[in-house]
């Protein structure tokens, strides 16, 4: 980074503006001055929106919630990279110190056929929820909470499942994928339950249902590995490999025996 006057940054933003799902959309350019290098990318956008509002112009619509990298609400394509230039970081945790004074920064929404632009930088990620709804759950008995440690979980399985469960569902994997495939998201959600004892009863039904729901909305994986690089939680594409294996095992197991309907 190299800062300008007073250690503050002046950048030029090229931001995608789109009035609604049907609108063609276009880039608009804004000069944003006097930004602290310690500001996050979203805080920089807040500053810009404040100014736009004071000028009586429409502020830029973008999504955010926790702003500490754990909710998965934010997500922008910054200079052609999902969540910007810093690896393993969501947009909210990306700081302006990653940029230099005078930089031109292009900001676009996630692009995928199933991610319709709602307005400006906000997209509809309902398709990811459809995948979860297809099988991203376990069934438990109601009543009193079970005793702690009643179900032993091997340490390795617990840690591996936790790596998958780190997925915050932001959609960066889809955004970064040249095929708009949602394999990494789906694999993380499938494997975080498939790896645990609690996930076993529904394992095969879950795998088949979630993968096939995914294929209704998204493209097909060609093993580029872009998703792994874009993922703010650095989830490994090994989970995709395991899901590929589980899917075929599920197809074999889920065949209905003769006489059943």
């Amino acid at each position: 980074m190299s800062a300008g006057e007073n250690g503050m940054l002046n950048v030029r933003l090229r931001v995608w503006r789109q009035d609604g799902p049907g609108d063609a959309g276009r880039f608009e350019t804004y000069d944003v001055g006097g930004i602290s290098p310690d500001a996050s990318f979203l805080e920089m956008l807040d500053v810009l929106n404040e100014r736009l509002t004071l000028e009586g112009r429409e502020p830029i619509t973008f999504e955010s919630d926790c702003r500490e990298g754990i909710c998965g609400t934010c997500g922008l394509m910054i200079n052609g990279r999902a969540h910007g230039p810093q690896k393993g970081t969501a947009t909210c945790q990306l700081h302006m110190r990653e940029f230099s004074d005078g930089d031109l920064i292009t900001v676009e929404p996630w692009r995928a056929g199933s991610f319709e632009v709602i307005r400006d930088l906000a997209v509809d990620r309902t398709a990811l929820d459809r995948i979860i709804a297809a099988g991203g759950y376990i069934s438990v008995n109601t009543g009193a909470a079970p005793d702690a440690n009643l179900v032993p979980v091997p340490k390795e399985a617990a840690e591996c499942a936790f790596d998958a469960a780190a997925c915050i569902g932001c959609g960066a994997c889809v955004a970064a994928c040249p095929n708009s495939a949602a394999q990494l998201f789906t694999a993380a959600k499938v494997q975080h339950l498939n790896l645990l004892p609690q996930g076993q009863p529904e394992r095969w039904a879950r795998t088949e249902a979630m993968v096939e729901t995914m294929e209704r909305f998204f493209g097909s994986c060609t093993n580029h590995g872009e998703c792994e690089e874009a993922c703010p939680k650095e989830i490994s594409i090994d989970f995709i490999a395991w899901t590929n294996r589980d899917y075929v095992r599920a197809k074999l197991r889920n065949r209905k025996p003769t006489g059943r309907r």
Binding site: W16, G113, S220, T222, N223, D238, T243, N244, R245, V248
Partner: protein
């Protein structure tokens, strides 16, 4: 994901063939008669059990089926991705995707076209006025001594190697062959395999052009077979056969 399995399993069959084909072609270094005998050996496979050439035809049928299924999966998966994808108006960066992975949809059709040409050239003899059935050595020399043809073979084989470099790695991923212990080997294995196939296959057009593989325009096999017909002698490799 079922189609990814079809891609991977047919991919294994196809790269298996590519390797065997390349290794078999090394008989060109032994000479014309040995290459002819290798070709005859392929026709003789399984002769003691079932009629001659049946095993070869079964292998060919399996290969054609694998090729067709590979193409069909590639076509439908590409359509699926095209339908799902939207371009970035401001351009995008690639971090992990490499040249090989991004050109699969170009190198694939290129190799497909080459296979059709290659069959027409050296199996059916359409493009080769001097084609001699049963003398692959002579036919290879006749085709590859033509510079444009040699360049086309080189380009197609580079495309094949690039395709295999990504494909061979992809097979592991698509079939779910993944374990922390062996994963670093997967890329290296794919690279070594692609390089071996590339070096072997490129050596043929290059060495024909360099005049190392050459029969001076004579078909040694035809001459020997005609001579054997005249004299009724049993065929054995001649002394100092080329």
């Amino acid at each position: 994901m079922g189609k990814k399995w079809v891609m991977a399993l047919t991919g294994i069959a196809l790269i298996g063939f590519v390797l065997v084909h390349m290794v078999g072609n090394l008989h060109l270094y032994e000479g014309a008669w040995e290459t002819h005998e290798y070709a005859e050996t392929l026709r003789d496979l399984g002769t003691k059990v079932i009629p001659r050439t049946w095993v070869l035809w079964a292998l060919r049928a399996g290969l054609a089926a694998a090729f067709a299924l590979h193409l069909h999966s590639a076509y439908s998966l590409t359509r699926m991705s095209r339908a799902a994808d939207r371009r970035y108006a401001g351009g995008r960066d690639y971090i992990a995707a490499n040249y090989a992975s991004r050109t699969m949809r170009w190198t694939g059709p290129l190799v497909g076209l080459f296979v059709v040409y290659h069959l027409a050239d050296l199996t059916w003899g359409h493009f080769n006025p001097d084609y001699v059935r049963g003398d692959p050595y002579h036919n290879v020399v006749a085709s590859l001594s033509n510079l444009p043809v040699a360049i086309w073979y080189i380009v197609a084989n580079v495309a094949l190697a690039v395709h295999i470099y990504h494909g061979a790695w992809s097979i592991f991923q698509s079939l779910g062959v993944s374990s922390p212990r062996w994963n670093p080997l997967r890329r290296r294995l794919a690279g070594t395999f692609a390089a071996a196939v590339l070096v072997g296959n490129l050596s043929f057009p290059i060495l024909v052009q360099a005049g190392v593989i050459d029969d001076g325009g004579r078909s040694v096999v035809r001459e020997r077979l005609e001579q054997a017909d005249r004299t009724g002698e049993a065929l054995a490799p001649p002394e100092g056969a080329p």
